[in-house]
């Protein structure tokens, strides 16, 4: 981490990756190389100009690395006479630590089958790291990454791309039960930090959103999807809230329950003088609301409709009776 002229150092670092990349891939279009290496195209051409002036000590024209300028004019990079830079530089201690710690974060808290994959990747990378990596001295702890869900996302993305049906075992919290269904996956999307699979559900015979953290199991089948993704759905907030079958509900939330307004989509929030909030929201499933209110007990109450309030009070009394 020398503070002096980082420009030249960074340029050399880029070249030490670019040259082996070209060696491995042969001639490559400028835009492809720029994308693969995360370098701006203009910068990439400047970097290549530096390469022209480098080579074996001796100073004969044959000693220099050759960059085909005619090809470059046509948008193609062709470099020769640089075989000694055919391989990228070893991982630096920082790179090795960063990737190894990230992998260990993925490993912690993952299922056995995921751990086994991480372990194989780790042992290969550790062998490639420069000496002096202090990766073992950096402990990412638990809950720093969710590898199971991430791998699930990758698999489901694959099913979307290949248009294959998926058998989902899905947990429905409103009913506190797991159920199995066949779905036609259409896309993955993220909303408020949660990832969803947007799919056609053959059990419901309707489009449904599945939260990935509630998918217990997903098997990608060989059968192709049968319901095409006809409706280009609006991916805004509306997708996650109002459907025709919702009931408007008004709640009063004490401060301990205010987080609900950050977490769920609400129509209106009115602050009250006593520090509580009055909140309007659309509820599609009364069981979902009852569970939410039990979870918040006793810091939330139903203002309207009264029948929902009665159902919640009855559920709380039912639970309390177990202890009496």
């Amino acid at each position: 981490m020398s503070p002096t002229v980082p420009g030249a150092k960074d340029q050399v670092a880029r070249l030490l990756t670019l040259v082996p990349f070209l060696h491995t891939h042969g001639q490559v279009r400028i835009d492809e190389a720029a994308r693969a290496l995360g370098v701006d195209e203009e910068q990439l051409v400047k970097d290549l100009m530096v390469l022209l002036m480098c080579g074996l000590p001796g100073g004969y024209p044959d000693d220099l690395i050759d960059v085909d300028l005619d090809a470059l004019e046509a948008g193609v990079i062709r470099v020769s006479n640089a075989d000694y830079l055919a391989r990228p530089l070893r991982l630096t201690p920082t790179e090795a630590s960063a990737i190894i710690v990230a992998l260990r974060a993925l490993r912690n808290g993952a299922k056995d089958e995921t751990r086994e994959v991480v372990d194989r990747a780790l042992s290969k990378l550790e062998a490639a790291a420069a000496e002096g990596s202090a990766a073992t001295q950096i402990d990412p702890g638990l809950n720093a990454a969710d590898a199971d869900q991430a791998l699930l996302a990758v698999r489901l993305r694959g099913a979307v791309d290949r248009q294959r049906q998926v058998r989902l075992t899905y947990y429905v919290p409103a009913r506190d039960e797991e159920s199995e269904r066949i779905v036609d996956p259409h896309r993955l999307l993220t909303h408020r930090g949660l990832t969803y699979l947007d799919a056609w559900c053959h059990s419901a015979e309707a489009p449904r959103l599945f939260r990935l953290d509630r998918v217990a199991e997903a098997v990608v089948l060989d059968t192709p999807v049968s319901v095409p993704d006809a409706t280009a759905r609006d991916l805004g907030d509306s997708l996650f809230t109002s459907s025709s079958d919702t009931t408007p509900v008004t709640l009063r939330l004490q401060p301990q329950a205010h987080w609900v307004t950050d977490y769920y989509s609400v129509d209106d929030i009115r602050a009250q003088d006593d520090g509580s909030l009055e909140v309007d929201l659309q509820v599609a499933d009364e069981r979902w609301l009852t569970r939410l209110l039990l979870r918040l007990a006793p810091y939330a109450e139903v203002i309207a409709p009264a029948s929902y309030g009665d159902a919640f009070t009855a559920a709380a009394q039912d639970a309390l009776r177990l202890y009496r």
């Binding site: 993925l106 420069a130 947990y171 109450e301």
Partner: protein, 326 residues
Amino acid sequence: MSTQKSERLLNLLIMLLVQRHFVPKERIRTLLYADSSTDAFEKMFERDKEELRSLGVPIEVGQMDAYFEDEPGYRIRPDEFALPDIDLEPDEAAIIGLATKVWEHARLAEATTDVVRKLTALGVPVDVSALDIVQPRLSADEPTFDVFFEAVQERSAVEFDYVRSGQSEVTSRRLHPWGVARYSGRWYVVGHDLERGAERVFRLSRVQGSARKVGPPGAYDVPPGTVVGEVARRLAPAPSSQRAVILARAGAGVPLRRDADEITSGVVGPDDRTEWDRLVTNRSSTGLADELLGYGADVYVEEPATLREAVIQRLSGVGGPAGGAA
């Protein structure tokens, strides 16, 4: 940016890489620094070597042979310079792609991306484009994290001001950091406290102002067998994980069952409406009461008494005056 300097650095690297023997300093000067005075050469050459080394280029210093007496020579061994071959199975490549999305820390996230670029240059494809769906969660927001991370890599002493939990007095500390560990969402540094002469743990969020590396790298050795995470957990305040015994109706409480250490079926429950199972869990007590309350009359808390009381208390408050007295 000095293009000339880039050329010089790369030419120096190539020269040292292609020679089988140590290259004498004088020859390096003649070929690459011919226009510079002796002083300027010494300065530039020192800095150039340092910059190449900071990129990870292993420049070796050695004696040429007896003939050149004490004139040092330099070389880079190709086998130490180059990334060895790596073959990745598709699932291994996928998990390494995921690893680039783990850090919520700009510099370390970039470092993981650089790893993938090197693998790409080696011809090992790692597709990271499909992974924008993954949320980075390994954050390191503490301003001093980078200094401690670097100091651990380099084995450099660190000086900083610190305020202990529950106190207001600021003390200055000098530490040989052994490692950093994340625990309950916070980063700690573990090491040998030079003032106290003992192992200590410090929470990075309690470090006041900036932390400074002092003295040369390689200043100390980490005691063999040190497991940083264990030291942090041993010395840091106790975690809030709690053993709980919960009864759940047969088939209910699916997420609880997934986390349970032990499940006993067909136990005697608080009523006869259904069969009951006993679950033993061991997890953070944060939010546990909320979660259990959500199941209503489908779960029943046996232990611990504090959790049981909390659940009864909160259920009793329902329907009370404006959310109860709690």
